[in-house]
Amino acid sequence: MAESTATTEREFMLDVRTQDMEVNMGPQHPATHGVMRILMRADGEICTGAQPHLGYLHRCAEKIGENVEWLQYLPYTDRYDYLAAMNNNLGYSLAVEKLMGIEIPRRALMIRTICAELNRIGSHLIAFGTYGLDIGAFTPFLYMFREREWMMALFEKICGARLTYSYIRIGGVFNDAPPGWLSEVERFCDVFEEKWQEYVDLLMVNHIFVQRTANIGVISPAMALDFGLSGPMVRGSGIDWDLRRDMPYELYAEIWKAGAFSIPLGKGERGALGDCWDRAYVRVMEMMESIKIVRWCLDSIAPGPVIADIPKTLRVPAGEAYVGIENPRGELGHYVVSDGGKVAVRCRVRGPSFTNLAVVEELMPGTLIADAVAIIGSTDIVVGETDR
């Protein structure tokens, strides 16, 4: 951290010191993306210390997991990372399936992959859109909501809900895709590619945006590993790590082998490696990669059953399993322990936002208040997940 900021140009000086002021950023503040409080010490405009206070949205997800049946927990998984509910469903289902050792029909895997990737696009749209909002650009946010709206309409058609899908379930998916759905997904991909270029032109390469985010909140690779960061946070620091390729689940091994997608990395193009701009860049590029994965699935999907034969009341064999999947925000881990009964003994959720947020404490001191907002935005947290 020290080396990297020393090389970057800081355009303000610390020659005047005043008494530090404590400012509560949150729990209701436009930049905290939900109800989170950051207790900030500030010397004028310069932040000298920050301490995140969580728990305003704590809903006891893990305790609930120990009290409801395996399948009944599914709707609760929607609710921690509510921007990527499909991925949460997928992570939980995979963990339980690992314990049960069931074979998932191929069509179900395809539909799961399509949904998870579409949801990743939706989540990154929000991440990038609200990041623009934090920086002060209002319009790109609404453009991104427009595409996300279509994505949500697609999900509404396949599962009937727009945000809390509960669609991917243990053993497969709830329903087969309705007729015409897959071709609409293809249309979505076509339109999205066009619009994506607009986001890049409008916000990503905008000089003010670059100036606001480059060289801010630099996370070095060593620091990223030390803090256990994952997802775009670690890829923004130039570490080539993606669970979809490196520890493949579902069909990703096959898709990677087919060369359908690549993994974008932060390169420090506009500033130091691992700054806010790099993280935003990784997210923007990942949307395009997700589109490629969706296209591959659309090309190779074949009719078939969409759910394995599982009993109505699940009894999961005794044992414990940890499954980490690549959520849009990083590694979403589900650690489930079963004693062979109808209810889990432990249902631990390792939320990527929770771990990613921890680094904020370290990045904030020495930045301006406006940068603090940019740093929080670049971690792309969902408070539902940090607090669970």
Partner: protein, 382 residues
Amino acid sequence: MFTEVLSAAPQSGTNAINDFLAGVKPEFVPAWAVPLTAVGIAVGITIALVSVIAMFSTWLERKVSGHIQCRYGPMRAGWHGWLQPLADGVKLLLKEDLVPVGADRVMYVVAPAIVLASVLAALAAYPLAPGFFFADLDLGIFFILAMTSTTTIGVVMAGWSSNSKWSLYGAMREAAQVVAYEIPLGISLLVPIMVAGSFNLLEVSRGQAGMFGMDWYIWPWVNPFMLPCFVLFFIAILAETKRAPFDLPEAESELVAGFMTEYSGIRWSFFFMEEYAAMYLYSVVGAFFFFGGFESPLTWGAAKVFGDGHVLYHCAAGLTLILKGFAGVFLMMWLRWTLPRVRIDQVMTLGYKYLTPLALACVLGGSLWEVFVAPILPWRNG
């Protein structure tokens, strides 16, 4: 402000209201009552003007932002929501008058009034038409710049008295920003002033009447330094009026709502009235010094058809100015809904390291052009 108008109006002796009142004055009314009544009427008109400008601008802002963002904006009150500002105004008037605990009550209440008064005062120097103005000031542009700068005092008062840290941040940012941008704003206006040879808005406008009302100072053949000057001027007025990308004093994603975090109801709306009126006013200043002021083919045609003193000529000139003013306002809105916000240190850097030196360079170049090149250009001596 009133003394200024009072002393200015009778001296110049061309105030239309004053002339009209003097013409219809009965014998028993003392002579000093005439300018005083004229001032009263002018103040009334100015307040109405500010309200109308602010109302129309809020409507325009919401429609422009809406359509830029692929949505409609207000659609319910009247045709395409044109009555929406009225509905909002009624709502704001009826809202509870809140003063936060611990706030400095007197300052808190006075601050919005000062903010609004500053722009009202500046509007006194704004001619509605070539023959209809409240005060034809020789140093009109100086008066406008001086008056609009006093907004800062109100904003700082508002931020300080609110007893909120976010408000204080907003106020401090506003103070720093306005100080930084007064300089390039003033300097960038020097080139057109040099070309026009006057500080008087009406005279500047009259100087651009040639070429069917299209002989504007912005054209590069008049002075090639005029275009960069206009760009600098435009950036500076964005910062002066706290518009994005320089909306740091209210930066909603950083400072909640900046200096007006604690304000609500009609007091809060005063800040917005000031902002929109100032936007319009600065656009008008830009129109006067770069885009011909009252002059346009429309005005030229009206002058040819009806003659130089006809009411319709004045209407055409006034309409031209209003259109130019709102074109500037529209451009500011378009920019606001396109750009992200800059950071406070970048605002300072831009102001001091980019705009001020560039403005000075433009003034140097412009004055050299005026001294050495302009005299030999045939179209500058016709």
